[in-house]
């Protein structure tokens, strides 16, 4: 694929004889920069997203490891590292190694922002989607390769802006990752703050870039899946991963723009002193603000959560897609209930747009609105349960291969289950009044995104690594990565449910030390004391990622060489060479069957790839299966 044939935002590319000649030319003259940095190849972009995203994931996690010190030992100096951080971040962020409240708030806000928007979404959606989707649908590339490149670079710029914000006067954004108004509008403003170069403004500007990146990506993904499916690859023959990415792209496409509008409005509030989100008569530090008022803080929450809730499914759907691929592959039998999975995912995507206000039970909504959102929220648990059930049933009777990807994928199931089920009390507004903004909520959604989504991402990295490099990652070190991670995850998040039920608030700077209920003993430790084992588990988990990092880079060069289909999988990406060349397939594949034809009776191998033509024995097997079904 050569760049001159790519599309610009508004126009299809030329394809005519003259142009073809030009191709041949610059095809071979692609310099290093165009090949590895400003590349339009979906695989290179996918890997760029993966590596950038993983770095941001680790960075976001590092912020949390720092916060865990303050929570476990509030007011105590962090030895060695503390004074160094004070020099690095300046402005008395950690005077004498003791974490300042503002710095703590910055860490919390940026942990959320970085993990979600710079870590999980880029890896789950953009990295795996870019690398795997075109291969799985038998396409030469994405439909708009230049837009694809623009999407990555918009993301990159957004990420850099977020990073820069740590080092401006006043430090990074500190109003939570949700940036609730009016707090976020008055934060980082006034004397000592630059009008643009301050944490919250940079956060908003960075956000506009990230949203733009997501939109460009979403347009590209949807068009690619609609237009570039290989011959014979009908909708119901798509791998579940492709479906998951397709729905995710729609969520990003339609849910992100209202937040972009909201971000622009908050920027106006900060830069032009408008009052979109500023109520009448707001008094700050004893003085009335010189603004018109008349705005609504709740409006921000509506627009934020209109994105925010679909975003939850943006985080989980690609993970489910990855898990589905790996489960089918390693149980060596078809995914159970493929159709119900697809329809459940579609319903999930649809419903995710009309549940957002369940994040806002305490904003003073009336009973009618609350009842509406409570009902939709409970309904949305049905498709989630269908998906999870189908995954569990898929395990039934399989001769399971417990390789590293499969370990992570199977761990996903109970972890996601715990996260999902503990969400139900939060869906009821009566129960949520008690649990709102406590560590219970933290535990609930982290079970979904941390041991849930992030485990699925690890599974995906181990699973598709041989496709991208032609080499395997080490199984041994994979297991050394898996087991401590699994144990630490649970030591971190299970006690948080207890803390939450003791009403320890998620944003307290002292870990709940000053709160009477924190002294209640649960399982031998008080609510506050539980912070210590949690923090230790968090730091151990940081160490547990080292085998992964080493394994990843070591295996690129020295991993065991394998053939094009080392997992003996059925979907089309395994029909391409490893690593796939520019343009992907030597022969454009044609799909003849569904995505998960494992252990098809009458076949000599226990997997039948999608591009293998139908034989008579297959027909007999299908008929027998249909008869058994009746």
């Amino acid at each position: 694929m050569d760049p001159s044939a790519d599309l610009t935002s508004h126009a299809p590319a030329a394809h005519d004889p003259h142009h073809h000649d030009e191709h041949g030319h610059d095809h071979h003259e692609l310099g290093w920069w165009r090949k590895y940095v400003f590349s339009t190849d979906h695989k290179v972009i996918g890997i760029q997203y993966l590596i950038t995203g993983l770095i941001f994931l680790f960075l976001g996690f590092t912020l949390m490891m720092l916060m865990r010190w303050q929570l476990a030992y509030p007011g105590k100096a962090l030895p060695v590292l503390g004074p160094m951080l004070n020099v690095l971040f300046g402005r008395g962020s950690m005077p004498e190694g003791i974490m300042a409240p503002d710095f703590y708030n910055s860490l919390g806000a940026m942990h959320g922002t970085i993990m979600i928007f710079l870590g999980v979404v880029p890896v789950a959606f953009a990295a795996f989607g870019n690398y795997v989707v075109p291969l799985q649908i038998g396409a030469p590339d994405m439909t708009f390769p230049k837009i694809n490149m623009a999407s990555y670079w918009a993301f990159f710029v957004g990420g850099i802006i977020m990073l820069i914000s740590f080092f401006v006067p006043g430090g990074a954004a500190k109003s939570g990752w949700t940036a609730y108004t009016p707090l976020s509008v008055i934060a980082d403003s006034g004397p000592g703050h630059h009008i643009i170069m301050n944490g919250q403004t940079l956060w908003l500007i960075g956000f506009v870039f990230l949203i733009t990146s997501s939109l460009l990506g979403a347009v590209n993904f949807i068009t690619t899946i609609i237009q570039l499916r290989a011959k014979g690859l009908t909708w119901m023959r798509l791998p579940f991963f492709v479906w998951a990415q397709f729905i995710t792209a729609f969520l990003l496409l339609l849910a992100f723009p209202p937040l972009e509008a909201a971000a622009v409005m908050q920027l106006m509030d900060r830069l032009a002193a408008t009052s979109f989100f500023m109520p009448t008569g707001l008094v700050v530090s004893g003085a009335a603000l010189n603004i018109s008022g008349g705005g609504s803080p709740i409006l921000w929450q509506h627009l934020f959560w209109f994105l925010g809730h679909p975003e939850v499914y943006v985080l989980i759907l690609p993970a489910m897609g990855i898990v589905a691929e790996i489960l089918a592959n390693n149980t060596r039998k078809p995914l159970w209930g493929y159709k119900s999975l697809v329809f459940a995912a579609l319903v999930l995507g649809f419903l995710s747009f009309i549940v957002w206000a369940h994040h806002m039970w305490l904003t003073g909504m009336g009973t009618v609105v609350s009842a509406f959102f409570q009902t939709t929220t409970l309904i949305i648990s049905i498709p989630s349960v269908i998906i999870l059930s189908a995954f569990f049933i898929s395990l039934w009777g399989g001769s399971i291969r417990f390789n590293t990807p499969m370990l992570f994928a199977t761990a996903f199931l109970p972890m996601f289950g715990i996260g999902g089920l503990t969400g139900i009390p939060l869906a009821f507004n009566a129960a949520d009044i008690y649990l709102h903004d406590t560590y219970y909520v933290i535990a609930h959604f982290h079970y979904i995104v941390a041991p849930g989504t992030i485990f699925a991402l690890f599974a995906g990295v181990y699973f598709w690594f041989p496709k991208a490099t032609g080499r395997m990652m080490s199984e041994f070190w994979g297991k050394v990565h898996f087991w401590p991670s699994l144990i630490c995850m649970n030591v971190i998040f299970l006690p948080m449910f207890l803390q939450g039920m003791l009403s320890i608030h998620r944003r307290w700077y002292d870990g709940g030390q000053g709160w009477a209920l924190s002294n209640e003993k649960v399982w031998g430790l008080s609510g506050f004391e539980w912070n210590v084992p949690i923090s230790i588990a968090a730091w151990v988990m940081g160490l547990a990622q080292i085998p992964f990092i080493i394994n990843f880079f070591w295996s690129i060069k020295y991993g065991k060489k394998v053939n094009d289909n080392p997992w003996e999988a059925t979907t089309l990406e395994w029909a391409a060479p490893s690593p796939p060349p520019h343009g992907n397939f030597a022969v454009v594949p044609t799909a003849h069957r569904g995505p998960y034809e494992y252990s098809l009776p009458g076949r000599e191998r226990d997997f039948t790839m999608q591009n293998e033509p139908i034989r008579d024995s297959d027909r007999r097997a299908y008929e027998a299966a249909a008869a058994a079904h009746d």
Binding site: A230, F372, P589
Partner: protein
């Protein structure tokens, strides 16, 4: 190269199923475009005029104004943007979008309308 994926093959497919805007058709449409343009101008004047007419309450005026605007927008979408004869896929995308944008309007309105206390 597989058949349906090669540009050459798909070109022949398209020749077999010409799009609705064939060269001859287009010349027929020009009159329609001009008429719709004229209609939009007229309705712009009507919108302005109606806003100075008292429909009893300000709310009624807003409703009438929005009705006319929706009609105009419908004309632009149907004729200029060819939505009156477009492929199903485009309709499917737009149906969802319209639904969600209405949900956004309606639910934020509802949230405003039904607070616990005012």
């Amino acid at each position: 190269m597989n058949e349906s994926n090669s540009p050459a093959a798909s070109e022949s497919v398209v020749q077999a199923h010409p799009e609705h805007d064939d060269h001859h058709d287009v010349s027929k449409h020009i009159k329609k475009y001009l008429m719709v343009g004229g209609l939009l101008m007229i309705f712009t004047i009507i919108t302005v005029a109606l806003s100075y007419f008292d429909f009893g309450s300000h709310k009624a005026n807003i409703a009438v104004g929005m009705l006319v605007a929706t009609f105009k927008a419908g004309l632009v979408a149907a004729i200029f943007m060819h939505l009156s004869a477009e492929r199903h896929l485009v309709y499917q995308i737009l149906i969802f979008t319209t639904f969600f944008v209405l949900v956004l309007f309606w639910l934020t309105y509802l949230a405003w309308y039904d607070p616990v206390v005012r």
